[in-house]
Subunit: 529 residues, 2 copies
């Protein structure tokens, strides 16, 4: 997605050659590396796209670093910071212990409604009225270990898999994750029924084929679920890990359901593959490269024992660039919070109206077109019985018109599967993704509050000035991570919504054009001499 | 509509000259008299159209005569004639008196539900659940006069206005009315508010402009109503005179209502103008050529004193051709009865589904499209607040897509006025027309039963053999009239339904094409590079 490059020398485009003028020091985004002939296609910050000589640029992995162009991030008023002072979601409680006593267990005090498991609502869009599907469950009782873990992992040479985010890159949009040169992708396909215990228990296995190995591996839903739990444990504090498609107890072998689940597992896997941090992790790679049962079990055991989970994710991030000002950190956090909340509302609104539209299109509307069609055909057959000569043209035409409306009825009923379906699926996926943000943002807000309290704690000699500086540095790191994640989210969102809207409108155009053509045909059969 | 001609000499068409081969004695229909150069355009019984020399044919008014080509009229089984034996609707009761006593008043015994006045249902299609709007009210107490009237009018030189149906013409379809050379037509337009009694009472005057004089005359609704009553009295036994558009008590000056009433008065007048017998009558001509108040009052008084009303209409018909066989008469009557009943059901069915469709198109459906549009626009505005660069293309496109669905919402809501309206109006008009047939057919059925009873009456010396022969002759005349009327109905129906279906489908095509085009526009704004 994001392959950034730094321009090494000025280059002036020759008009009419699809070239792009760039200036030394400018950062551009590579949009096509496969142009050949010593050229690459790139886009500058004004959105202009064109060819640039390969030798003039330095392609680099995107790193988390400081914001050079602050104007590209809208900074809004920090606003109601006081209101959040009592937020119980507090990753800094390790220091707080010193001030208030050893029994504080704030990590476990999750905001209401976020500690539930994945809901298993049978209706994919409708009846699930709870706020957000749970994605991130706080580390719970592990609160006291956080500070130690942070230091442990820093000296832990085994945590190399976090490397993808240990270096930071600077995009025009601010901090971004370090993206791999080649985009990982995989196909979920070919669901097959398997059985064990001499056929007493049966299950569905899905084939997963990564574009890196092209070697299919088979996984059951419960393997996906295991992967989800590992990713949530490991990355949930910094990266929204969306829920898997809902479990369903009955009708597990019903064809429609399997197809739908496969489609959604594909969507989930695609999203995980797209994420540079997730896709690069050992556990994710283990899932994609399953060799044999023994290998799998070893990998599984290792992943389950992984200590680099929970807030430890932040310890593996080392942003390139100065520490961020706490006020700026707070402003960004507020902005992301507002945005994700607003988008969540917008997405749910679209899902609601989409669901209503779906019902109408598959229920009363086609029935009505069918009735219109039948009424025309009925009149046609009455006219045929008139015994009057010269009637044939009219009765044939009316009969055809009637059939046309019956065809339209069927088209109307089938249309939602062709267009609305994808619009709903994408928005449903985003609903799940957005549901993960309140927790991530909550972690950040609590950390920010703690830093703000730092001065008082220093004055009261509860912590040292050095402790306070460390706290500020860590909040800065968390903010870099959040910004990188938001930028990842935004670039994916822009792509996804462009794509789904194109698909939707394309199918809608086809639909209305086909109806118009059918009716034009029907019209041509009538005659008034 | 129907201008028949008899071919006097054989004529063989020259190939490639658009000519039509005709044979001596053949009857052809003139389709264009204005070709010039000694040619007319005509259609033969096989539907072939071409030019024929004027001198080779004899143009004649269409006359009621016998059926030459029986195959062109489907003769169905007479069926349940016994069931109708007790039908009280009996125009022949004058003879029955001799057999059963003098007090029989069968004329007044109308079938249940047909003696009501015009209903004033405010909802033009929906809530009126009664069977048929009343059109023809039997002559009631005049029963005893019928026989006398018949003879009276025959010797009454003043009844010249019935002349249009005193001669019969032979169409390929069987008996047809004698049609005028030029089709009478009129425009109802320019409704104006007038007032009387120093402004205390106000009313609407409509301008009526016949194509014969091109001189506008003004008429209020009550004048139309007066005309309707006269036409019903005079022609109702033989010709369905459809009700006027419903009266409405409240909101008489509301613009929408006036426009609707004008449209329907136009439809009613057009139908009356099209009918050769109705349009040729003194009272109809009086209405179209209103000169001054005095002239109008004189004409009005004369029309109200007209004795050529009720069943007398049949006395002014003299079919060319032999008397019809009573069995054939009965078969035709049964066929027409079945057809009009079936069409009435079909029309009502279409009106019902049309009304439901209208409600959906103007109610929930556009609201839903509007909500979809708002949801897209809402997401667009949320995206705008992301602070992420390179968002503008997507947000503009989503906003446009949203506006497009709002436009579609408005189109959907406005569409029924553009197409469904005319489909509904035409079917509503036919519903009114069809509602007149049961009475007309009832009169015929009763007469047929009486003739069937004739032999018994002769055997019992209740009537003479001569009386029985006269009865059979009169039933034959009635059947000629009914057949001519059915043929008039059929040819109008074929024209009207072709026309309204063309209009409807044309507008439907435009509607769907416009939507497709709008969506294509919206689609083009999205991009996935």
């Amino acid at each position: 997605f994001c392959s950034q490059a730094k321009v090494l020398y000025d280059f002036t485009a020759e008009p009419g050659n699809n070239e792009l003028t760039v200036r030394e020091g400018e950062t551009i985004t590579i949009t096509n590396q496969g142009v050949g002939g010593g050229w690459i296609e790139a886009q500058n910050s004004r959105g202009e796209v064109g060819l640039v000589p390969e030798d003039y640029i330095e392609v680099r992995k995107c790193l988390i670093t400081s914001i050079q162009d602050k104007s590209s991030l809208e900074i809004e008023d920090a606003g109601t910071s006081e209101e959040n002072a009592s937020n119980g979601n507090d990753p800094w409680s390790v220091w707080n212990q010193d001030a208030t006593g050893g029994s504080s267990n704030n990590w476990a005090a999750q905001p209401e409604g976020t500690v539930t498991g994945k809901s298993a609502a049978p209706d994919p869009w409708g009846s699930n009225t709870q706020g957000h599907p749970q994605a991130y469950q706080g580390p719970g009782a592990e609160d006291d270990e956080w500070d130690d873990e942070w230091d442990d992992v820093k000296s832990n040479s085994e945590s190399g898999e976090g490397g993808a985010i240990q270096r930071g890159g600077m995009g025009e949009v601010g901090p971004v994750w370090s993206y791999p040169e080649a985009q990982l992708d995989c196909v979920v396909a070919d669901p097959k029924k398997g059985s064990k215990m001499y056929g007493l228990k049966s299950y569905i296995e899905y084939q997963v084929i990564p574009n890196t190995t092209n070697r299919p591996v088979n996984h059951r839903y419960k393997h996906f679920d295991w992967l989800y739990e590992r990713l949530l444990d490991k990355f949930g504090s910094a990266i929204p890990i969306p829920s898997l498609p809902d479990k369903q107890v009955t009708g597990r072998f019903e064809e429609e359901f399997i197809k739908m689940r496969m489609e959604r597992l594909q969507g989930w896997m695609t999203r995980m593959c797209r994420h540079p941090v997730v896709s690069n992790s050992d556990v994710f790679q283990l899932f994609l490269t399953f060799k044999d049962e023994k290998d799998w079990k070893t990998g599984k055991r290792k992943a389950e024992k992984d200590e680099g989970v929970g807030v430890m994710i932040f310890s593996s991030i080392e942003p390139e660039g100065p520490d961020l000002d706490p006020i700026e950190v707070e402003q960004k956090c507020e902005q992301f919070s507002r945005f994700t909340k607003a988008m969540d509302d917008g997405v749910k609104d679209l899902l609601n109206v989409g669901q209503e539209h779906w019902k109408r299109c598959t229920g009363p509307l086609p029935k009505e077109y069918q009735r219109i069609g039948k009424a025309f055909q009925n009149l046609s057959s009455v006219f045929t019985s008139s015994g009057y000569q010269g009637e044939a043209t009219l009765t044939d035409a009316m009969n055809e018109a009637g059939k046309t409306y019956e065809e339209i009825a069927q088209m109307v009923a089938e249309q939602p599967r062709k267009d609305l379906h994808f619009l709903m699926e994408t928005n449903n996926e985003y609903k799940g993704l957005l549901g993960c943000f309140p927790d991530t943002i909550g972690v950040h807000k609590a950390a920010i509050e703690k830093v703000k309290e730092g001065d008082r704690l220093v004055a009261a000699s509860k912590i040292t000035a050095q402790d306070k500086a460390t706290m500020a540095k860590r909040v800065s790191t968390m903010s870099y991570a959040l910004q990188a994640e938001m930028n990842h989210f935004h670039s994916n969102r822009i792509y996804d919504y462009n794509r789904v809207m194109q698909l939707y409108l394309e199918e809608q155009v086809k639909f209305y054009e086909t109806i118009a053509e059918k009716l034009r045909q029907a019209h041509s059969q009538f005659t008034t001499m």
